[in-house]
Symmetry: D2
Subunit: 157 residues, 4 copies
């Protein structure tokens, strides 16, 4: 259990993020993530980005399962633009970032990157813009993001 | 689109199934199904078995989404015993079977096999016993399978 | 097995595709495709698009596994831009399209859409531009698409 | 990033494991893991078990990707017997264990459990016996586990 947790602070060539640094989350590559090309199946980066967004929200005190029970709403992904630059392989240790690029009344745009942790510098593998909207969980109709949620997002890393 | 559909009736060494023949469903192997070993990731056979069970139920007139809305209940998997005998690879064409081995008041046991379609005879890749129970969809508590459902299952292939 | 195959020709409001109609492939929604929001997990549309691209290539006589053994090269996805418009649910029957939008010496851009099959008209759920490049399978370095492959792609649907 | 890592040592009713305690690995539930039943899709427990086995091996100094390059062999799963007792939901924090139950010349049997971390005691969600065999990575034929590997496994937790 120790290893993921023991990962030291790490330098990589992340984009400068106006208004703060990006949230970072470690991801390890397992068999489940790879395909017969010997590399990570590209669709799985969307899962890694989702994990980092979830943990970024959790770091702001936002738990999605509780949120849904309290507000009747949930986030839903409406657009994903992803560029895949270099492949990752089994056992690789990645860092996935999340940074709030735009905050609207009904949707957010999150800028995300995935880096391979390596020495002397990390390599950028993949980058994305993810648009997420707020919807009523039953009707799935778009709705305004609750104020309490927006206030927590102000406290953005 | 034609090819999967054009697959001719095919002989393979399926287990004799007392009381009827097994339901058969074709599955094609895509990149998403494989791992860096160059073969199908073993956990994905559970997905293939699920697809075949779903289509077997559908062939008996049972649609799970509608069923849940009508009865408030749903099937849930409670046990999966799987033996992996031979690997499958990208682009392989498989046949997945489903056969109702045991029918209780609250659970079913489905016997399933996966074959690689090849000439002159298909090869058995994987076989499983899957136990599924009926639960209330909200509380997830076990419940008796509705009579109307049991009657449809009598008409088992 | 019959039902997917028996789906009749179906009208939907597909984009006009200069130079031909789009290839179409049916996809059924199973439990594996959904998430706790009750809808299809957005990352899974990349799998559906991949299945349709694979079957489109197969319809042109291009089998990716054989191709790799013969040429030592393979396709790799380098960019995916996806817009999610409406959700799909368990048991839904979808049609996924693929249409060759741009053909370069080292990469292709495929335009893809996913429709919910429903009466009287299908609903557009999701649309994407997918860029795929040709690489050496061992080094993963970009390479020119083999001429024989380009010629087969001329015969595009 | 802090939360997963800050999880304190935790008591749960794990099976007594003759000859040592089980290796433990934390797993968090994300959207990708759930299905439309609102719970974790059962096939995904095989992924969680795999992650824990991989990290157990890594804790013994065994990296599977390097191992394959050095020995030309790899582990392959040949049998998975799983019982699903209680469901997990979005945002749940789980502990997954791995314990070497049997060590043969060509295969291992790993006993694994998944617990929901909750107070005052953890709840057992799922348990499994996983048989893994050693094969030549190209031919996929069974082979004897390399001695150096067996020696590292002696040092089992």
């Amino acid at each position: 259990m120790a290893e993921t947790m023991a990962l030291p602070p790490h330098r990589h060539a992340a984009e400068p993020m106006p208004g703060g640094t990006a949230f970072e989350w470690p991801v390890r590559i397992y068999w489940e993530d790879t395909d017969a090309g010997g590399i990570v199946f590209y669709a799985n980066y969307l899962k890694f980005f989702e994990r980092a967004r979830t943990e970024w929200l959790r770091s702001l005190g936002i738990e999605q399962h509780s949120l849904r029970e309290q507000t009747g709403g949930m986030f839903i992904v409406s657009q994903t633009d992803v560029r895949y630059l270099r492949p990752a392989r089994l056992d690789d240790a990645l860092t996935v970032t999340a940074w709030l690029q735009h905050k609207g009344r009904a949707s957010l745009i999150i800028r995300q990157q995935t880096f391979l942790r390596s020495e002397p510098a990390s390599a950028l593998l993949c980058e994305a813009s993810i648009r997420i909207g707020w919807v009523d969980a039953l009707s799935l109709k778009p709705a305004r993001i609750p104020d309490s949620l927006l206030q927590r997002l102000e406290n953005k890393p």
